[in-house]
Subunit: 371 residues, 4 copies
């Protein structure tokens, strides 16, 4: 039995998601490589020990260096705050360890470039955590577009909207300062990645970025929010197709507004993360008086669904997306070959974000490659 | 019984819609002023006579001047091609006749300015035909936004998408030449008007306009399309709120994509013209674990619904929108006071279109008022 | 120009709907026969005069006999309370006049038999007002089923649910007494008619009928409700297919719950009156991983849509259903041949209602033909 | 660390689901009791060994007696064919082991009674596997109904429909013989259980059960199907409320048609298993012109959601339902007290099924308690 020692840095939201995925992945996918849960690292020794117990790790630490240097840890999952990604990844690659890093890859393009360089130098497997594009429905969407099933694409609209900061009375917190923790830094990567995955590279952007709620309550009175909470972006893909992105964390009522709509000469499709088990598809070649959007429910015929359930329409969930990522990471390590989305894909997202800020500041279109 | 003589110029799609509305409006709304169907004008004498018979007009003509000069015609409905609007309207106003003119008002801003000036000089009633904003659901949306029910608005997204030119094999026709007959000229006015109606004036725009299908089949071989078929626009309203518009007649699968989504600090709403009897409303003050978008079906409690049916959810349709317009036009004439949307509202739309083309050409943001 | 004099009995909800339809029908459908609005009858002379003014009738009366005997009235639309249908229809037929009668035809099966006999004896045209089945979407559904497009039908579920008496505090009114004004008498006819239209004759029924709210407030204190407000029925069609019906006027939240779902060996369809412009169709012969319910928006390619609008997805409404009925009634008169649904169809509905009550009382299955 | 040895009988669809759940449950819920994966039993030694490897069990066997008698197996999950449930459960209880048994509990009421008696005699924990009612949305529905939030319930409609045998060309298989493997035996338990969970005990039923496709292809030619594939049932609950159930495995297009609609005097709700993360709720006390069904997306505020994800609307899936069951089973064992749904709940379902067959055969209403 081929085993691989796993260490997870982070015991919060994403750390848990990856820990659960690592517990389930072999049973779900019967992977060739089986994960061995070695070390988990969180911010305190006590907290880390508690998480190790909960998630079934053999050891725990409050120092990520201990984890990275643990000889039994052969692959590192980085699910800690964004400002730690670079340092951990670079250290892990220096030891030849494989790295799965949550999005956004680095705090900015410069960091991501350092991370990608370290990954490439190491020869280890690298992967970036864009989970939302991994649903069976989104994989189907990708196949439909790439196979030409809806013809030549004529437009793309993407949206990542949530409402966790929609209430102006929501107190100031860590998300309210530093560009990397802002709306563009934190929320936009998923939908930018979706744009790449579905449409190919983005050529140029024209962005309008703002802070809707400029002050938030704090114990010391109203405190200035120093990053953005909403943005809209026009873009052109390298294919020449026009697109737009809307990213907001103040969109009241949106819980998982990971939405895209793609129109082509022979059809169209729509996906909404709030109903992740459906893809809406319009086929222009249907009989004229029977045309309409079809709500396709995912099932065993669609990628990465069957291991979770033999029944179509029975549905996969958020946690399953992470388990799919874990499967691909294990398989990539087994093959010693990085799989999409790699650190390069993570970096491309940083580049678009950078271009968007530049565009916003200059109030004009900016070529992404010029960044 | 107060009566008013009506003449309709145009016997096509919109001409018929207005003719049916004029036949039904008094019975539906019991208007103080009753329409008398005097003259209809279409392109041929024979065709006009047939339409007069079908719609119940007393007289017919192939010359709009005859109609405008008919002493029994006191109010003129202009539902003819856009390039005729100005001339007819100016002639009618010169005779002191009231004018309802289909959108877009003039071929361009200059024409609309001439038309508005003529209207104001005449003192007659003037109205522009933006029917989609007249559904009971959209009237509710407007009330919700204006009353502050969803708090301060934080973003607006509008779309007018159809697919009647989505197929590249669709032959070249009159819609494929002249800016006024293009996607921006013909489709955008409705959703620009909606943006005004719901959000107030647009301050500035940043537009990207294109011709997706650059050639279309014609008896003489591929023929160059000389106007646009798709556009995306970022905007800022005078309120400072950000917004975006997507207008396309090549959006495969969209039949009546008159869509808007409005987010506010206390709620959000969504409307889709393909289900015109529903408004989706999210209220942030609902109990935390019971929040969600509510599908409100229109009924007698909503504006302009009850005259069509006493039962909620029984639904109004496209033709009813035109009947609502007819009612407001008759009431405006009765009051001798123009009602929203007037020629001024029509002109404001032209101004935004003009600003959008300017922005596209200059590839930068353009202040609408500078146009 | 062939004209036909119309008289309408009733100036309430349905009377108005038919009056508006008669005003609009010739303009919409360009019917061979043109209606001439002769006389309207409501309960008071004053009220009738007001309605005549509003709807454009030449004369008014508070006595339906005057209307029926008016020599200029050649066709009578009966939209008065159910307990008047028989007498008016019989009188009209005796004079050879054509009759359109709102559902339910008679107060009970016996009355409907008398009415049908009178109709047949007269040789005049007769029609029953089942408007909901006249939407373009429901006409499409009927075609799909009848053409075998979804294979052999395997089950039918129908529902007519509204909530106008859902609140137990709703005061006692005329709807709360007499079987004909109850839930089965008043609401069930539409969906029973739909079952016939889509599935053919009902062979047998097994019904459970009840009065959920047994007392309602009245000025004299709680007053006993003497008819039903909810019923569920199992049935078997003559084809052998199983079906069920649910009829309720206490179904909180339902506004126009005219719903049917039909499953066949090769597909399935669903219609919901709250979104009357859509038909949901599932085709079993679609590619295995692209199957799902398609939301077909009605448009000019579907029956009786184009006269209302050339644009698909632009939508028809409740009032348009009545205009479609008016068109068919005029055409039937023009052809001197009754069209579906005739008085016979109205009578078949009475028969099922009767069978349902018998079944409920006997607590067993009842053959419809035995009634 | 309190541990409990788990054995799973069955390595198919449900066996895998439970195996994955057992792998994930401690990490997800941080249960007081931690599962130890001891033995798995499938039909062949080789197959069992492969499953043990995939799922992480220490030992494997093709003989369930070995598993039951394994001293390290303290709790048995029965996910084998229905005709094995009784024997395994009785043997496990005889050894004082806790038992989780998939639905349907026994092949018939008699078997379930034996199983319940054995469970009660043993004093061990017992639980029946009704997973669909465990979604956060269905738990919310239950709370809403039980708390009176939608008033007094006035009707219930339940449906369990799938289409895996809708195609008449689907070959004869094991599902096509024996009552227990039929539509009523296999599919109905879930929705009958939902009826109990939401509405309380069923008092009486009136059933119509059939075999739509009476023959199916087999290597020896058309073979007679000896069980049912479709049924419709009227019922009355002990509360007096009327209800209906529709159960079909030939409902073309339905993938996970676990649907219920509940109307009350103050509101209504609807759930559809094909969109398991939403509950549709109508509240009669909303402002009159703002009423409608609200689509509530489940999130951390709803039961058993937060352990899977902190983000509302991000969604749980089918596999998570099984993990919720595993959590409750572990907690029940920890407390030494069986939790809903117990074997008694499993037995109640058998009783309704039995009553339904009796009703069908006698063609009359049958009191469930008389069975």
């Amino acid at each position: 039995m081929a085993k691989i020692g796993i260490g997870i840095v982070g015991g919060g939201y994403m750390g848990k998601a990856h820990a659960v995925a690592i517990n389930a992945v072999a049973a779900v996918f019967n992977t060739a490589l089986r994960p061995s849960l070695e070390t988990i690292c969180t911010t305190t020794e006590k907290g880390a020990a508690a998480k190790a117990y909960q998630f079934g790790f053999a050891r725990s630490t409050a120092d990520w260096r201990v984890l990275v240097n643990d000889p039994k840890v052969e692959a590192v999952v980085i699910a800690s705050p964004q400002n730690t990604h670079r340092e951990i990844a670079v250290a892990a690659f220096a030891l030849g360890k494989h790295v799965f890093c949550e999005k956004p890859l680095g705090m900015d393009l410069a960091e991501s470039r350092i991370m990608l360089a370290a990954a490439e130098k190491s020869g280890a497997v690298h992967m970036t955590g864009f989970n939302y594009i991994r649903t069976p429905a989104s994989q189907m969407a990708r196949d439909i577009i790439h196979s030409g099933e809806i013809g030549c694409i004529t437009s793309f609209r993407g949206e990542h909207t949530e409402d966790f900061l929609a209430n102006p009375e929501e107190p100031f917190n860590w998300r309210c300062e530093s560009r990397a923790s802002g709306n563009m830094g934190d929320l936009s990567p998923h939908i930018i990645n979706a744009a790449f995955a579905l449409m190919g590279p983005i050529d140029s952007v024209m962005a309008d970025i703002e802070t809707v709620h400029k002050f938030r309550p704090s114990p010391d009175g109203p405190k200035l929010v120093t990053n953005d909470d909403q943005a809209q972006i026009l873009c052109r893909f390298e294919s020449g197709v026009m697109g737009s992105l809307f990213i907001s964390r103040v969109a009241t009522g949106r819980k998982m507004g990971y939405i895209y709509e793609v129109f082509g000469t022979k059809g169209a499709l729509r996906f909404d993360g709030e109903d992740q088990n459906a893809l809406w598809l319009y086929k222009g070649d249907a009989k004229a008086d029977r045309q309409g959007f079809t709500k396709i429910l995912t099932g065993p015929l669609h990628k990465d669904y069957e291991p979770f359930c033999l029944g179509p329409g029975h549905g996969t969930g958020y946690q399953d997306q992470i388990t799919i990522e874990a499967k691909d990471f294990l398989n990539a390590i087994f093959d010693r070959k990085s799989r999409w989305p790699t650190f390069e894909d993570g970096l491309l997202v940083n580049q678009v974000i950078e271009a968007a800020f530049t565009s916003h500041n200059l109030r004009r279109w900016v070529d992404v490659k010029s960044i």
